[in-house]
Symmetry: C2
Subunit: 150 residues, 2 copies
């Protein structure tokens, strides 16, 4: 199964980087990889606790930090002070549109956008580590709902 394979990749990478591979990390990684949504730290904690009720919040946060630095997970600000995470393994890079009405997140991708960002960075002598393009607005469904109400 895909999750098992990716789980193995993460394990190998973290071990090679000198991290210990604990039961908690294994569980958190597996849970994150199985989660196809954009999840909050709190949601991930809940999911993990279904398997092992005594996983601590701190460990989930600490593990998310490790995973984010290793590049397996990406966090994106939701604009209201919170963050959502998504795993990146096996996904192509994409950007996000966030509906301010219903909170839905849509993914999209545009190669040209990427290229122009790189060009802009080069112009300034800046080395890109990551980038985040978020478009906030109203999604098709909410627009439709608004119109039918009016």
């Amino acid at each position: 199964m895909k999750v098992d394979q990716e789980h193995g990749i993460v394990e190998a990478h973290l071990r090679k980087s000198g991290f210990r591979w604990t039961n908690q990390r294994s569980l958190i990684v597996r849970t994150a990889l199985s989660s196809h949504e954009h999840f909050t730290a709190e949601q991930l904690l809940d999911l993990c606790r279904r398997q092992d009720p005594k996983v601590s919040r701190a460990t989930v946060y600490r593990t998310l930090t490790v995973l984010e630095q290793a590049g397996f997970v990406e966090g994106l600000d939701t604009g209201d002070g919170g963050r959502r995470f998504e795993h990146v393994l096996g996904h192509d890079h994409h950007d996000h549109m966030v509906c301010l009405q219903c909170g839905a997140i849509f993914e999209f991708c545009d190669e040209e956008l990427e290229r122009r960002q790189e060009a802009a960075a080069k112009r300034l002598g800046f080395r890109i580590a990551r980038h985040s393009l978020r478009i906030h607005g109203t999604c098709r469904d909410c627009l439709r709902a608004q119109r039918s109400q009016a």
Copy 2:
């Protein structure tokens, strides 16, 4: 002076929108307009308190909300849970590169980037309210410092 003029524009707009024009709002707006940096709410509070030590934190936040909704100010997540604001009056829209080493923020602008975002939104039937493109990485100066150290 430019700040006075912009201050007048904000005042007129808010009055017209049914908001009251209080001493506090006047002070906060003037201070924000005079601040050419990307400031945090707390920094703005400090600056205001130099003029009037009893301005409250709540009023600064409430005023920032009003200004943001009116489109005079834009907030951007710093990725660490905080936000920085900038005033928008008289500035063209631009995006940001944030140096992860030194925290410096660089502005850049690319019309084609804007157009392609609009095209992507149109494809999904999404109406854009605002968007935020942040590129994280290492700035020219920090890269140079790294190299000279090595």
